[in-house]
């Protein structure tokens, strides 16, 4: 895939034309087992513009209990990076438009080797990668490898990131920036929308790519509120906590995830109409 046909870029351009904001759900690959590709299609069918697909790690230190437990379940089911690539390939067989971003921790990628990881991810149809614990200072080799394959490096910015670091991060960022809306791990507390707005506008002064916001988005209302300022809205824990119930409730859990996304989509779009 070449840079010219980058799905992430195309997606944001299309949304801009429609004056809509991106809705980006996060789920963890392999949780529940065997259902991920199905869930991905349902997310898209209910209004998702892009998908962040987490890959499992035994020690997900930046994640709160909901997503950390999903990692534990997937690791205990033996889900590997090879399985994750296979899921993306299978998804691509029916959907060659929706961007897929892999998100996870460095150790599985280090053990596989950067080049091999990037090559296999690219072949599977992955568009971008967010390595949670790979800071820009140490990203050199990985970044080169990603760029060689026309894939984006998505980076995090937080409420405590200094301007010096924002500038550094923006200088290597592609695809979009992921602004972490609150201090803490995934799944934490309540959002302060005014604070987020101020911060997103500040980051825009440094950024040449769209700024999306995640952490603390759990329903239509919070999605719409964030959608007013950010270029995209990322929702993770609220979906992963529903999928956790698949074991006891089966399809009903997946249906609730689909309707959650539909709720966020319509709240975000209604909000745009009312402006």
């Amino acid at each position: 895939m070449s840079l010219e046909t980058n799905r992430i870029k195309t997606c944001f351009e299309r949304l801009r034309g429609q004056q809509r904001k991106a809705l980006i759900p996060y789920i963890l690959a392999g949780d529940p087992p065997g259902k991920t590709v199905d869930v991905m299609h349902q997310l898209v069918g209910n209004g998702a513009d892009m998908i962040e697909l987490g890959f499992p790690f035994s020690d997900p230190v930046a994640d709160g209990p909901v997503i950390a437990q999903a990692h534990e379940r997937a690791v205990s089911h033996g889900v590997t990076l090879y399985d994750v690539f296979a899921m993306v390939s299978e998804f691509r067989a029916r959907d060659n438009v929706t961007p897929v971003v892999l998100m996870g921790y460095l150790n599985p990628v280090e053990i596989m080797g950067y080049d091999r990881f990037v090559e296999l991810a690219s072949q599977a149809g992955v568009d971008g990668v967010l390595m949670v614990d790979l800071p820009p200072e140490a990203a050199g080799d990985f970044l080169v490898s990603l760029n060689d394959h026309g894939m984006d490096m998505i980076n995090l910015i937080t409420p405590t990131t200094s301007d010096e670091r924002i500038a550094k991060i923006c200088s290597i960022a592609s695809g979009y920036l992921y602004y972490v809306s609150l201090k803490g791990v995934t799944g934490a507390a309540i959002l302060n929308t005014a604070e987020v707005e101020e911060r997103v506008n500040h980051i825009r002064r440094f950024a040449s790519v769209p700024v999306c916001v995640g952490f603390g988005i759990r329903d239509g209302e919070s999605a719409a509120a964030i959608g007013r300022t950010a270029d995209g809205v990322i929702a993770g824990s609220v979906l992963v906590s529903e999928l956790a119930k698949y074991g006891s409730e089966g399809q009903a859990a997946i249906d609730r995830v689909a309707s959650k996304i539909a709720e966020m989509r319509s709240a975000m779009d209604d909000d745009r109409m009312n402006e």
């Binding site: 709160g64 599985p108 937080t158 405590t160 791990v185």
Partner: protein
């Protein structure tokens, strides 16, 4: 007094020989670094700035020295283990008595230093992780002394096997949070402490208990522990008029070993041995021998030797001693291994228990099970050396906390 003629060759010229690890980014060669999420960067940068400023500050050094002397009880003795030496019939064995420190282990050295930092930064809350409970007790102790809130994360499995230390922490006013995730040991306690810190960086100081984690922790904890080696060097020159031939210390994260080794790294004739936990044996799936069977990867903020499977998932470690039951190791140890400066043998649960009993009976000193791994290696090493050679073994902690574990192995309940 030391004859100057004899001690002269041991005086190093700092211009000629330098050991400058880590670099400013916290890299020990290819190891170390700061592999954390951006959510933690701000807190680490603040800590790094304060640490670099204070470590060069004369007032801080004076405060630290005073606390080490009057609160910790330093210098700790360098004890000649005469009966053990005779029993082994080889090298002369000295024990660096960190077990005699206040709270019973070397952990108090860096806890006192980090507490001074916390106070300087105006933090009101200290968090810590603990494996054997020694670092938790040390953290609760310095927090009590400074009137700071203290929360200690401890693997649920360790809470059970170190009940005495859990109660000590509670008596000191700390809240002990059992961690039920993952392997429910030290690794998972570190994960929880990091999660806590990310959420409350303004008022919280993370008092990390070993030479692991993201930069600046490996360097900071090493420097705060290097008092062990500085004293040992002076003491052995006083007693023997020469440097030792070998240093031996156990390695979980590796703080007591780095504390002893650091001052001797440029003395190429002094062999360095860091002893890992071989659990049921390095060829079984129940051990914590990262150096002999692991490979480099990234865990909890640093690139280092790890126990990981071929898919990059961390493998659960095992050791009879909670303090060595950790699948990663301090990055500087990985560096010292790769450049061949230090060697990392391993001792099994059984060998450590035998050494525990042997030292107790021969010297009247009951060692921590962690330290017993170092003793087990000395037990093998000393007989292969000449009688005029010298070993210094770091007796990093005392064994009171392990009496339950040893009694249970003997089929007793105490």
């Amino acid at each position: 007094m030391v004859d100057l003629e004899i001690s002269e060759p041991h005086v190093r010229s700092s211009e000629e020989h330098r050991y400058e690890q880590p670099d400013l980014m916290g890299n020990f060669g290819r190891y170390g670094g700061r592999f954390v999420a951006e959510t933690l960067m701000g807190a680490l940068e603040d800590l790094d700035r304060t640490w670099r400023e204070l470590w060069r500050d004369k007032n801080f050094q004076e405060d630290f020295d005073r606390d080490l002397a009057d609160f910790v009880g330093r210098p700790s003795p360098l004890y000649y283990a005469e009966r053990w030496t005779q029993a082994l019939g080889g090298a002369k064995i000295y024990l660096k008595r960190e077990d005699l420190n206040h709270t019973g282990a070397h952990k108090i050295n860096h806890a006192v230093g980090q507490a001074l930092l916390a106070k300087h930064m105006g933090k009101t809350r200290i968090i810590a992780e603990t494996g054997a409970g020694q670092h938790g007790v040390a953290s609760a102790t310095v927090a009590a002394r400074l009137g700071l809130e203290c929360v200690v994360y401890m693997g649920a499995k360790d809470v059970k096997r170190q009940a005495l230390n859990v109660y000590r922490m509670k008596l000191l006013g700390a809240t002990v949070v059992p961690v039920e995730t993952g392997s429910q040991t030290l690794k998972d306690a570190i994960n929880e402490a990091l999660r806590d810190w990310v959420a409350r960086p303004e008022d919280t100081f993370y008092l990390l208990g070993t030479v692991c984690g993201p930069s600046p922790y490996p360097e900071m904890v090493r420097n705060l522990q290097s008092i062990i080696g500085r004293e040992a060097r002076r003491q052995i020159l006083e007693k023997e008029g020469r440097l030792p031939d070998a240093l031996v210390a156990c390695v979980g994260g590796g703080s007591n070993a780095m504390g002893l080794f650091h001052e001797f790294i440029l003395d190429k004739d002094v062999k360095l041995y860091g002893v890992e936990a071989a659990g049921h044996g390095v060829d079984t799936d129940k051990h914590a021998a990262r150096m002999s069977s692991g490979r480099p990867g990234v865990l909890q903020g640093a690139r280092t030797y790890l126990m990981t499977n071929e898919h990059g998932q961390i493998i659960e470690s095992h050791s009879v001693s909670a303090g060595l039951d950790y699948p990663g190791v301090g990055p500087e140890h990985s560096y010292l291994k790769d450049i061949g400066r230090a060697q990392y043998p391993a001792a099994t649960d059984e060998e450590a228990l035998a050494a525990f009993r042997k030292l107790t009976r021969l010297e009247g000193i009951m060692p921590a099970l962690e330290s017993a791994h170092a003793l087990a290696w000395v037990d093998k090493l000393a007989p292969t050396m000449d009688k005029d050679q010298i070993i210094i073994c770091n007796l990093s902690g005392r064994g009171d906390k392990d009496i339950h574990t040893v009694a249970a192995i003997d089929g007793l309940e105490v």
